[in-house]
């Protein structure tokens, strides 16, 4: 069971308040949608949860451990933030292999299974620089989910994807949720976000303005 507890976090960058006193709680087995226009603070909030940026004030705890104090980063997390970034000179599978070496050290068979899932089977041995935008996005999603992390954060996961790609991503997100992961997504496609998410947090100018719980998941 994974719980993320965010208490009164504020982030000020160059005198600009990008997150303003946000508090929320999330737990595993659910999909949380972050909704808001560009610059509303979705990506910043995600970066804070990952531990890439430090809030100016407030605290984030994961399973009771304070981020930046007890732990520097969540212990089991996969993420895709905006545009995926891999090494151009490496093939898709080489990029995944390099990332997995640090933790679970997945076998090539396991990596190929992930590539199958995102329908990059044939492109696994192609250099990343030759990937189309959609293929890059699929590889980014593969990298985020390959180790089946407890926390999965996907910022605009459907960017540059065709209808088939969007359906694959939807299936992956639901599958990870069903396996007990805490999934956080943001997406400009409101219908998709509403359709996928169990709870939606709407952000506006760095503030959390609305929290909606889907009836089917509300206790």
């Amino acid at each position: 069971m994974t719980t993320i507890d965010i208490k009164n976090i504020t982030k000020i960058i160059k005198k600009n308040t990008v997150l303003d006193n946000i508090s929320l709680t999330m737990s595993s087995g659910k999909i949380y949608g972050f909704q808001g226009i560009n610059g509303s603070g979705k990506t910043m909030l995600m970066r804070c949860i990952i531990g890439l940026i430090h809030p100016t004030s407030g605290r984030i705890s994961i399973n009771g451990k304070f981020l930046g104090k007890d732990i520097e980063f969540p212990e089991s997390i996969g993420f895709l933030l905006e545009n995926p970034a891999f090494l151009d000179g490496y093939t898709g599978i080489e990029n995944l292999r390099m990332l997995t070496k640090l933790n679970r050290n997945l076998t090539d068979t396991e990596l190929n299974t992930i590539l199958d899932k995102v329908e990059l089977t044939d492109a696994g041995n192609k250099k990343y620089k030759k990937y189309s935008l959609g293929m890059k996005q699929r590889l980014g999603i593969a990298a985020a989910v390959m180790e089946h992390p407890d926390i999965l954060i996907l910022d605009e996961p459907t960017n540059a994807l065709d209808t088939n790609g969007i359906n694959i991503v939807k299936d992956i997100i639901v599958s990870e949720r069903n396996h007990g992961a805490l999934v956080i997504i943001s997406c400009h496609d409101t219908d998709l976000l509403i359709n996928l998410s169990d709870e939606i947090f709407r952000l506006q100018a760095g503030q959390l303005v609305e929290h909606t719980v889907k009836k089917s998941t509300a206790k």
Binding site: I13, K14, T43, R47, I50, G51, L52, I53, H54, I71, E72, F73, P74, E75, I77, F79, L81, A85, F86, L87, G89, N95, M98, L99, K101, L102, N103, A143
Partner: protein, 284 residues
């Protein structure tokens, strides 16, 4: 164990995959060595000493020597030591982009997976040090090969008169008659180069990489202009060391100075990186 994996990936991505960059100092040194040999021949012709012998140390000092002390006067404009600064600035330029690019790209996944910013930072410190050593090793090897091809003595012997000529020093800047270059003097410019590349790496936690490179270049120019041990690039100018220049400073002090500043830079960088927001500048 995770640190070793991060460092291995840095060696692979930042050295093996970028080893083609080391062709640049090699090519540059070839041209410098050709220029050096031409000047040596001019010296032997002027002084009519056809059986004159020079050493690879003479060639090394031409490459790394820098410039003698400059005294600002109205009649003598400041002449920047082009070869010396090209050698040191190129090393800073080649290590400029990899850490930031890595941090904002795939490295952000590596940092999070490692669970520790400290490991990533130390890995980059080691990578930067190793790349700089390799860079200077390439230069040393090219000097050695050029020396072998041009029949130079493979010794550390130095001819002060020759150095005076090939560096085009003013008559009022006498070099002492020294027989050999001390081994300890050879490694100091390399250490200073490592030091400034680490300073540049740390500066990137505050300012854009291009600005950090600019800062390093400004310190370099200032050091060439003003001979003072407080501008540490002076420790990378062997022509100002007291073993060859009477009014030079005790270069051996450079070693503890480098050790002290490197330690401070690493710790300061570590502290800064622990609190650093890993985010593109345009997103802020």
């Amino acid at each position: 164990m995770k640190f070793i994996k991060i460092f291995t990936s840095d060696i692979h991505n930042g050295i093996f995959k970028k080893c083609y960059l080391l062709i640049l100092p090699a090519i540059m040194t070839v041209f410098i060595c050709i220029s050096c040999i031409a000047r040596i021949h001019a010296y032997t012709n002027i002084n009519d000493i056809p059986d004159f012998t020079y050493s690879v140390a003479d060639m090394w000092l031409f490459v790394y020597g820098g410039m003698a002390q400059y005294t600002p006067t109205a009649s003598e404009p400041f002449q920047f030591p082009a070869i010396w600064s090209a050698i040191l600035a190129l090393s800073s330029l080649l290590v400029l982009n990899y850490p930031t690019k890595d941090m904002l790209g795939i490295g952000s996944h590596i940092i999070v997976s490692s669970g520790s910013r400290r490991k990533w930072w130390f890995s980059k410190i080691l990578w930067c040090t190793l790349f700089t050593i390799l860079y200077h090793l390439v230069i040393f090897v090219v000097i050695l090969i050029s020396g072998i091809i041009s029949h130079a003595d493979l010794t550390l012997a130095i001819d002060s008169q020759l150095q005076h000529h090939i560096h085009e020093l003013k008559p009022y800047i006498p070099l002492m008659n020294v027989s050999h270059i001390p081994v300890s003097a050879i490694f100091l410019p390399v250490l200073i180069s490592i030091l400034f590349n680490l300073i540049q790496l740390t500066l990137q936690l505050f300012i854009k990489p291009s600005y950090s490179f600019l800062c390093i270049c400004i310190i370099m120019i200032s050091s060439a202009y003003l001979m003072t041990p407080f501008l540490p690039y002076n420790y990378a100018i062997p022509l100002r060391y007291n073993w060859i220049y009477e009014n030079g400073f005790k270069y051996v002090y450079g070693y503890p100075a480098v050790a002290l500043i490197v330690t401070m830079v690493i710790l300061f960088g570590l502290y800064r990186f622990k609190n650093f927001d890993i985010i593109k500048k345009e997103d802020t």
